[in-house]
Each structure stands twice: as C-alpha cells, then as structure tokens.
C-alpha cells in the first residue's frame, strides 16, 4: 500500500515538475514565436474573428460540466447524510412557511399585524 502511494505521489510530482519547467518556456516566449506558431496552424491572429481567440473573447465549446454533474462538484456524501439525518453540524432545516389565513377583517381589506391585534 505504502509503495503504491509513493508511486502515485511520484507521478504527480513528476508532472508538476514538467509543467513548471515547460510553463516557463511559454512565459519567456516572444511575440514573433507566437505569431509563427499561429501561422503554422493557418491562423491569422490579427483578424477580428480568429479561432485563436476562442475561450478568450468568445466562449469555448461547452464542456461536460455544462450538462452533467461531475463527482468533484458534488457535495461530499458525509455532509449529505448528516443533513438528511438532521445531525449537528448540518445547516438548520427551514420549516415550511405557514399559509396566512384567508379570513379578512371585515371592512378593512387587510389583516392587521399580530402585535397590533386587539385581544378581548
């Protein structure tokens, strides 16, 4: 188990190292190199509606998350179960609001507030 976990950690660390090192290359790249790369793809970045600006000036194609609920965006099952059972730590449940009585005070058209109601 320990060996497996170490392997997993190592792979993640390797990816981070590669991303950091080559990410710096992108940061240091010049405008000329960028234009050259765009030309290789047949993109004219000087034109207004260039495909290079997808995701920047106009939205990219919709992803999975637009249509499906992904596991990472779901609530954790522990707090969901806590909520369902009403255990401490869960946000207080809101009681359904009672409907106001339909009876109206004759002649006035509006029920007076409770604190102003006269008691006999």
């Amino acid at each position: 188990m320990h060996t497996k976990m170490m392997g997993a950690m190592r792979r993640a660390a390797t990816l981070e190292r590669v991303l950091d090192a080559l990410g710096q290359e992108l940061v240091k790249s010049s405008d000329e190199e960028l234009l050259q790369a765009a030309m290789d793809l047949g993109m004219d970045v000087t034109s207004k509606g260039s495909a290079a600006f997808i995701g920047i000036k106009y939205p990219a194609t919709p992803g999975f998350e637009e249509f499906f609920e992904l596991p990472t965006s779901r609530r954790d099952p522990l707090s969901a179960a806590r909520d369902a059972l009403g255990l401490p730590g869960a946000p207080a449940r809101r009681r359904p609001q009672r409907r106001k009585s339909a009876s109206k005070t004759p002649g006035k058209g509006k029920t007076p507030p409770r604190h102003r109601r006269q008691t006999k």
């Binding site: 792979r11 993640a12 090192a21 990410g23 940061v27 765009a38 990219a60 637009e66």
Partner: protein
C-alpha cells in the same frame, strides 16, 4: 411550425474578465493568446471540472478585483502565469481536503486530537492516474523530436539544463534550438481549441 429556441448556455450580456482586462489595457491581444497557451498547459492533469478557461478567467478576475497584486517589474504574463499556477495548487488542495473522511473525535488518536488542523496531503490514485495520462500525452507531443524527448525525460527526473546537456552530449546551440522547437510546439498546441 416554429422550432422552439433554447436559451444559450452563455449569457452574452455578461462581460468576460478577459474582455475587461483587454479593454482596460492590462494585457494585449498577443499576451492574452500567450496566457491561453499557458492556461491550457497548466490545466493538464486537472480533474475535468476545472477547464483552462476557468483558470485563465479566474486569474484575470483576481487581478481585476485586486485580490492579487503584481510586484513592480514583473510582466503581466509572468504574473498571471504565477496566479494560474497557484490556482491549480489551490484546486488540488481543496479536492484533497474534501476527499479525506473525517473521523469522530473519540476515534482519533491523541496526537491528532491535539492538532485537529493537520491534513494528510497524500495524493490519491485518481491524481496519479491523471498525472500518468498527461505525462504520456506530453511524451507523445514531443515523440517526433529525439532531442526534445531527451530534454523531456531529463526534466521528468528533475535535472537542470546543464545536467541534461552533459548527459545527452549536446552542444549549447543544439540544446537551445531544441528548446526553441519545444517552445514553438507548445505554443502551437496552446493556440488550438481542441480538448486534450
């Protein structure tokens, strides 16, 4: 018969942070394109609920609202790249924190009870799988260039530029031109809109 029109997924009345940054002159169009390439690069190996677009727009938002402030002398691209990198780490931290089941206080060992904020940052198998997939994809990206593949395997092992050059018996010029080819390939990949 008229077809029913579905509402669009994106509300065009909302100004995107990238558009706001462009209008305010924080970044130029070419800088935005470079940032797109960087965002696509840093989004590698992340779970699918966080896209490169989210990384880029969130980084720009943080700069626009003032929660991240650039130091004097740092270029906009370098600064925003740093913000995106930290957002990436932040996302992993959030996932790992949420995924760890919390034990009841009575079940926790005494040492853990004394410091309840101690969090185990160990990587899960999902992260390792994602990392392995991405490493394979990056290797495939440079597969046609032998010099670039050597440099990549050196970077994977954590070697410095000098160590890679010495190990591969490359001259300084050969190394520099291989890095230039890699940069161009990365920019080309970064400008596309294809999902990886």
């Amino acid at each position: 018969m008229r077809m029913r029109r579905f509402p669009t997924l994106v509300d065009t009345r909302v100004i995107r942070p990238s558009e706001a940054a462009l209008s305010l002159g924080l970044v130029t169009e070419l800088e935005l394109l470079r940032l797109k390439a960087i965002a696509r690069w840093y989004a590698r190996g992340l779970p699918p609920d966080l896209s490169w677009e989210d990384l880029l727009q969130e980084a720009l938002t943080r700069v626009l609202v003032g929660s991240r402030r650039a130091a004097v002398g740092v270029t906009a691209v370098a600064f925003l790249a740093g913000v995106m990198r930290s957002l990436r780490s932040e996302h992993w931290r959030r996932i790992e924190k949420g995924a760890r089941p919390r034990r009841a206080t009575a079940d926790r060992p005494r040492a853990e009870r004394a410091s309840p904020e101690v969090i185990d940052w160990a990587s899960g198998p999902e992260r390792a799988l994602l990392a392995q997939d991405e490493l394979n994809a990056i290797r495939r990206l440079f597969a046609k260039d032998p010099a670039a593949s050597i440099i990549l395997s050196g970077l994977e092992r954590g070697l410095t530029a000098v160590q890679i050059r010495l190990a591969a018996a490359m001259t300084e010029t050969e190394y520099a031109s291989a890095r230039k080819r890699m940069r161009r390939l990365l920019l080309r990949e970064g400008l596309t809109c294809t999902p990886r």
